[in-house]
């Protein structure tokens, strides 16, 4: 429990220290490989992982539909 509280405080501190980044300063953040999500090339990987493993979700992907029966 103490660890969770410490982690929460660290997280809030980190987010509180966010700098305002102007549009012209976002060249690194806008790089195609900085995308905060899955890249297109990972599509089938995510699909087989959701079929071969019990856990799924929280990756901005599908959370249902299709069988994956085999």
């Amino acid at each position: 429990m103490i660890q969770k509280v410490i982690a929460g405080i660290l997280l809030l501190t980190a987010l509180n220290s966010c700098q305002v980044v102007k549009e012209f300063q976002k060249n690194r953040l806008n790089d195609a490989e900085m995308i905060l999500g899955n890249r297109k090339v990972e599509k089938t990987e995510l699909s087989f992982q959701s079929y071969r493993e019990g856990a799924s979700g929280a990756n901005a992907g599908k959370s249902g539909g299709g069988c994956g029966c085999n």
């Binding site: 980044v21 090339v41 089938t44 990987e45 929280a58 990756n59 249902g64 069988c67």
Partner: protein, 397 residues
């Protein structure tokens, strides 16, 4: 002189009119739908192992899957200068499975040995850059021999006033239908359990919430939370379960499952050449399965247009409450499964990718914006291992 003045004024008015007309045409053209990008993703996946669920937790898990998907993204600006995006996607998978072939083991090669899955989808979104808002929705379909799925989703997002943070919510519904195909020896009243005939439904409802935040010029993070409820026939009718008394049954699992995955992403651009992409997820569900996932991918920019990306992903899960291996389930239980995908295991997934995005386009074709190749090797602590090769080609309008 008067004539000359009038001619000059006439020409001026004519020019103004012509110029005004050009502007109107230009703004009209902006509102027309145009192709923004086309994405082609192809993959080849091969796996093997010796814990097939169809044969009760023993037997070959050999499977190959050839997957192709084509996405066309169209954009336009509406009268209020809001960006509208239409996306049409079609996917086609063809797979062969050694274990599916054992639904009817008397045949040399049964119809279930191979199948094709087709999954088209269409989505729409509208972004108001001034207000920092976006909303949209989509429809999807997935069809294969014994399974069909219809999906619908709605999403909305709102950026903070300084555009540094963004909250997104997405609701999804999947209405699935499964044909109840039982193992050959349990058909026609030969099962000791009452088995439903025909088909059954499986519905999934999910709400995905996320918060993404720019921390500074090099770091951005996101927090993800999904709430997922599944209801209906959640077992698979052709999965056998062998009890300790030697009897064989069809897998039986509860008709409701609630899942909560919580995720965190952080991407950091170090120097001018390195990008670190990290991800962690904790997952828990009402069947007693808990899992941890952690991954790290490093993109090394050899130049602004070429990069190498080695990656590693670790995953660990506990078993569901209803799992037991071949011939270890005690008779009299309400729910039972010998599907090793739901057993306790750890897995490692590692490999690398290479991305080309030359300024003059791939092979000198300006619109062929980027090409990405990726290979991954997956190994699971309970004998399953697989390899996957993927390629992504992007055409940019």
């Amino acid at each position: 002189m008067k004539k000359i003045c009038l001619t000059v004024i006439g020409l001026y008015i004519g020019l103004l009119a012509a110029f005004s007309q050009t502007v109107q045409d230009s703004s009209y053209q902006k509102r027309r739908l145009k192709i923004d990008e086309i994405n082609l993703v192809s993959s080849y996946y091969h796996q093997n192992g010796d814990h097939a669920a169809v044969t009760g937790g023993i037997g070959s898990q050999k499977l190959t899957d050839l997957s192709n998907s084509l996405e066309v993204k169209l954009i336009r600006l509406d009268r209020q200068q809001r960006k509208q995006t239409w996306s049409v996607d079609i996917g086609l998978d063809h797979y062969t499975s050694a274990s599916s072939d054992k639904i009817d083991p008397k045949t040399v090669t049964s119809a279930s040995y191979a199948d094709t899955r087709i999954y088209p989808s269409v989505s729409f979104s509208r972004e108001n850059e001034k207000k920092g808002t976006e909303w949209g929705g989509g429809l999807s379909f997935s069809g294969e021999y014994d399974y069909t799925s219809i999906g619908a989703n709605l999403h909305g997002s709102k950026k903070t006033a300084n555009k540094m943070g963004e909250f997104t919510a997405k609701g999804q519904v999947y209405m699935d239908r499964i044909n109840l195909i039982y193992p050959i020896e349990l058909r026609d009243g030969n099962s000791t359990d009452p088995l439903k005939r025909g088909g059954d439904s499986r519905n999934s409802y999910s709400l995905a919430l996320s918060w993404s935040q720019i921390v500074n010029q090099r770091l951005q993070v996101s927090f993800l939370l999904d709430l997922i409820q599944q209801q209906g026939y959640l077992s698979l009718p052709f999965n056998r379960v062998y009890f300790s008394d030697g009897t064989v049954h069809v897998e039986r699992l509860p008709d409701s499952r609630f899942k909560i995955p919580i995720g965190f992403r952080a991407n950091y651009f170090a120097g001018d050449r390195f990008i670190f992409r990290t991800y962690y997820r904790y997952y828990k569900d009402s069947w007693g399965l808990a899992a941890h996932t952690a991954s790290l991918e490093t993109s090394i920019k050899l130049s602004p247009f070429y990069s190498l990306s080695p990656f590693y992903r670790y995953y660990h899960q506990t078993a569901i409450d209803y799992f037991a291996p071949y011939m270890t389930h005690a008779p009299g239980k309400e729910f039972y499964s010998s599907n090793f995908d739901l057993s306790q295991f750890s897995s490692h997934f590692f490999g690398g990718g290479v991305r080309f995005s030359p300024p003059r386009g791939i092979l000198g074709i300006q619109h062929l914006n980027s090409l990405e190749l990726r290979y991954g090797h997956y190994t699971r602590s309970n004998s399953l291992h697989s390899n996957i090769v993927s390629v992504h080609l992007k055409w940019k309008g």
